[in-house]
């Protein structure tokens, strides 16, 4: 940045976004300077994604204003944002695998006459842009032969050559290997040299310190600080700014945790997991806490027989099955991460959803006992407090919380005594959240073992007896929940810090 003038490329003024009942972004103001790498950090739910959606035109602010390159800026679509000079690198990539690198770069910008493509200097320009930010990619290569990281770089090159001088990157390293991360960082630094400003969002604090010039911290929708990273005193200060409060914790130690170990996992290893070992006791609620991509879902799926793994997992002394069918038969049930696509039959009614995991219980010689099916649905609607006018209502017409309760009903109906709950309260309103926690505790009090896989710290510290901290496929540490858990330490571990880094 030497020899260059510093000026503001993007400023946000009193930006606010209200959702019914909740203010996701609360009067946030900050500025971003030109040719910097500006990091945006905050816990889940701090308002980062809402803020980014407003910047990219996907959401309209409730109040407040933005300006880009000195001009007022109020995009109503990503296209308008792009025209204003702001491009986004989304987590899911928008490249066409069947075309070459160059064709992807010029896609949608081809010049034509009478429907025939004509040559222009566009291609030369693209080749130059690509060569400037990543010379190792061959423009004539087919995109399908490239790695995820290289595809990302193509998207970045496309954004850079379309004239955008601000590029937002939302968790760009989530799917990358260590070497690919280094390569991406090189690209980002070269972008900065060519006067592009990068807004970089990541949970991985090491990356932020390695890459960033400035950082903006959000917490509970509010702006906490914007300052140069050189003035931030290590991970500890950053984490402190991110939490800033004591995490609301209403955990009370539970009686009734048995001594009997029901599930024992030894050295579970697969594509993402690395030598994960743990146990779960009868009547116990354990939590797996980590960032997105840390391997929580993978553990749940491995235990449930949905993904293959090496290592051994025994449940009640016997090895767990290799298919969900066997897992269910042995008494394990999974509430999957995505309830709409993995948990529910949204086009079918509540009555048709509830019995699916335990068909022998409602049938005889393959014929349904209609009365039993109906009674089962009615019982769970009542027991779990599913708010519906009828069991004949389609699952898709229920609210998020009630849909999740239907998924719970499915699992409970299977008579499982080990419940794997993957993000059990994601997208569920506060009231239903509390109800779901009560259901979980009640089940555990009756002797069921429960594993909660969550990226919400409040959730795991609110209900779990023991918490396993995950980072990058490793089970880093086991913590016994209690009033004196060190939250800064937990956040340090799950963001990739090593023990003892903090304080």
């Amino acid at each position: 940045m030497t020899g260059q003038q510093t000026f503001t490329v993007l400023s946000v003024e009193e930006l606010t976004k209200d959702y019914p009942g909740v203010r996701a972004v609360d009067q946030v103001s900050f500025v971003i300077e030109n040719s910097t790498i500006h990091c945006l950090v905050g816990e889940n739910g701090a308002g980062k994604s809402t803020l980014v959606k407003m910047l990219t035109g996907a959401l309209e602010p409730t109040s407040g204003s933005m300006s880009v390159n000195g001009k007022a800026y109020a995009p109503t679509s990503p296209q308008e944002a792009r025209e204003g000079g702001l491009a986004t690198l989304f987590q899911e990539l928008h490249v066409v695998d069947e075309l070459t690198v160059l064709e992807n770069l010029t896609l949608g910008m081809e010049k034509s006459r009478f429907g025939f493509l004509i040559k222009s200097d566009l291609e030369d320009r693209m080749i130059k842009t690509l060569a400037a930010i990543e010379p190792s990619i061959d423009p004539t290569a087919r995109v399908s032969s490239l790695s995820v990281a290289q595809k990302q770089i193509i998207e970045i090159a496309r954004a850079a050559s379309s004239g955008a001088n601000i590029i937002i990157m939302d968790e760009p390293t989530a799917a990358l290997s260590e070497r690919e991360v280094e390569r991406l960082f090189g690209v980002i630094r070269r972008l900065r040299e060519s006067n592009v400003t990068v807004i970089y969002i990541s949970h991985k604090l090491d990356e932020i310190f390695e890459l960033g010039d400035n950082v903006t911290v959000l917490r509970d929708g509010k702006h906490i600080a914007t300052k140069p990273l050189s003035e931030v005193n290590g991970r500890a200060e950053l984490i402190e700014m991110m939490i800033g409060r004591t995490v609301f914790q209403n955990y009370t130690p539970r009686a009734g945790i048995g001594d009997k170990v029901v599930l024992q996992a030894q050295g579970v290893t697969n594509k993402l997991l690395k030598n994960v070992s743990f146990d779960i006791k009868e009547g116990e609620i354990v939590g797996f806490y980590g960032l997105v991509g840390a391997g929580k879902t993978e553990i749940a799926r491995a235990l449930f027989g949905a993904d293959p793994f090496e290592g051994s997992v025994t449940y009640k002394g016997k090895p767990v099955g290799t298919t969900p069918k066997e897992a269910i038969a042995s008494g394990i049930a999974l509430v999957p991460e995505e309830r709409r696509t993995q948990g529910l039959f949204t086009e079918l009614t509540i009555r048709e959803n509830v019995p699916v995991m335990n068909l022998p219980r409602v049938s005889k010689s393959g014929i349904f006992k209609a009365r039993d099916v109906r009674d089962a649905s009615l019982r769970y609607v009542d027991q779990l407090g599913i708010a519906t006018s009828s069991i004949e209502k389609h699952a898709e017409k229920l609210s998020g919380g009630n849909q999740q309760k239907v998924v719970f009903a499915k699992c409970l109906f299977s008579k499982a005594d080990l419940l794997l709950l993957d993000e059990p309260t994601r997208g569920v309103d506060v009231g239903a959240k509390t109800e779901i926690y009560d259901i979980i505790k009640e089940l555990a009090d009756e002797g069921d073992a429960i594993a909660v896989f969550s990226s919400e710290l409040e959730e795991v510290l609110g209900i779990c007896d023991r918490v396993f901290l995950m980072f990058d496929g490793h089970l880093q540490e086991e913590i016994t929940n209690g009033p004196d858990v060190d939250i800064a330490h937990i956040l340090n571990v799950v963001t990739g810090g090593h023990e003892g880094d903090v304080i």
């Binding site: 897992a327 529910l344 609607v381 009828s390």
Partner: protein
């Protein structure tokens, strides 16, 4: 968790008609409405015998439609049924033809007729197994797989018949099954079989675990997997059943005409698909009913027979089918959207 049995009676059991019942009713009413309209316009259309004919003339396609509908509900196509009809028919003739005929087309393997039919059915099931293998194990889209096996089946039939037909040197009992009339009426065994199959299919679909699993798989394959449903095995069974029905249809048709003809059942796979879609079976899976499919067949039959009896030459039947299909599907989409608004 403790089981509460008492207070759930407070939930009222108001039963709104399901979307499926609604569409089935709509299709039924359209079929009846079209029949009545045709009765006004076409002389001699409104006769009991005509109603019987609408059903009996279509026994083969309706039978095939059962297997095809179940597969569609599970989210899979079966375009191989027409080919299987040809294959099993030709096989049953070839196996039953006595040895030592005067030319290759009149020389068969000389099996006793019951054994010939069992072996022909085996041939049909082999095609079904092939469908299942490629769809389930190799995860190739079913439309491609069954398009391929359709040609495989018909291709084998064509080789066995040298592109012509086999109709000589058959045992005397060969024509028995296909022409057997039942209950002292002119209704033939294949028609009765179709009705029995329909009733079984409706029962399986409505009342049996097997039927519901088909819907679950079609509605959300991933959730079905995670709910412990053995999707691969279920789809395998569906393909085997569909092929078995097609095999029986082929054997009966061969018996009725006392010949094995490689072009028999040509385009039947598309007719079976068309009546299923007309009957409200969703091409995306998870939705539809066998009764709907049956009335879909009636709609198609009324439209084609009435129009050809009225003004148009039989050459127009494809156009009429096209119009009926478009109208029916647009109407259904519109009606469902309106209902769920």
């Amino acid at each position: 968790m403790s089981i509460v049995t008492e207070p759930f009676q407070i939930l009222k059991l108001h039963r709104k008609m399901s979307d499926e019942a609604f569409i089935t009713m709509l299709v039924t009413m359209v079929a009846i409405g079209l029949f009545l309209t045709a009765s006004f316009l076409v002389p001699n259309f409104f006769q009991w015998q005509n109603v019987v004919n609408l059903v009996t003339n279509n026994w083969a396609v309706i039978s095939l439609g059962i297997g095809v509908s179940f597969l569609l509900v599970s989210g899979n196509f079966d375009l191989s049924v027409g080919g299987i009809v040809a294959l099993s028919g030709v096989l049953s003739v070839w196996f039953a033809q006595s040895t030592g005929g005067t030319n290759p087309l009149s020389t068969g393997l000389g099996f006793p007729y019951p054994l010939a039919t069992i072996c022909a059915l085996g041939g049909a099931l082999a095609i079904g197994a092939m469908n299942a293998l490629f769809v389930v194990r190799f995860k190739i889209p079913s439309i491609i797989v069954t398009l391929g096996t359709m040609m495989v089946a018909r291709g084998i039939a064509q080789i066995i018949t040298h592109g012509s037909q086999r109709n000589t040197n058959l045992p005397s009992e060969f024509g028995f099954l296909g022409n057997l009339t039942m209950f002292g009426t002119s209704i033939k065994l294949p028609v009765v079989l179709m009705i029995v199959l329909l009733l079984i299919a409706v029962f399986v679909e409505r009342k049996m675990v097997f039927g519901r699993i088909t819907y679950w798989i079609g509605a959300n394959p991933e959730a079905a997997d995670l709910s412990g449903i053995d999707r691969a095995w279920h789809i395998t069974k569906l393909y085997l059943f569909s092929a078995a029905i097609a095999g029986v249809v082929g054997i009966l048709l061969a018996s009725e005409y006392q010949s094995g003809f490689s072009n028999r059942g040509l385009l039947m796979e598309f007719d079976a698909l068309v009546i299923a879609l007309l009957g409200g079976v969703a091409i995306t899976g998870g939705f539809g009913s066998v009764i709907g499919m049956f009335f879909g067949a009636i709609i198609l039959a009324v439209v084609t027979s009435a129009a050809t009896g009225l003004v148009l030459s039989p050459d127009w039947q494809f156009i009429l089918k096209a119009v009926a299909v478009f109208l029916a599907i647009v109407t259904q989409t519109w009606a469902l959207a309106r209902r769920n608004r």
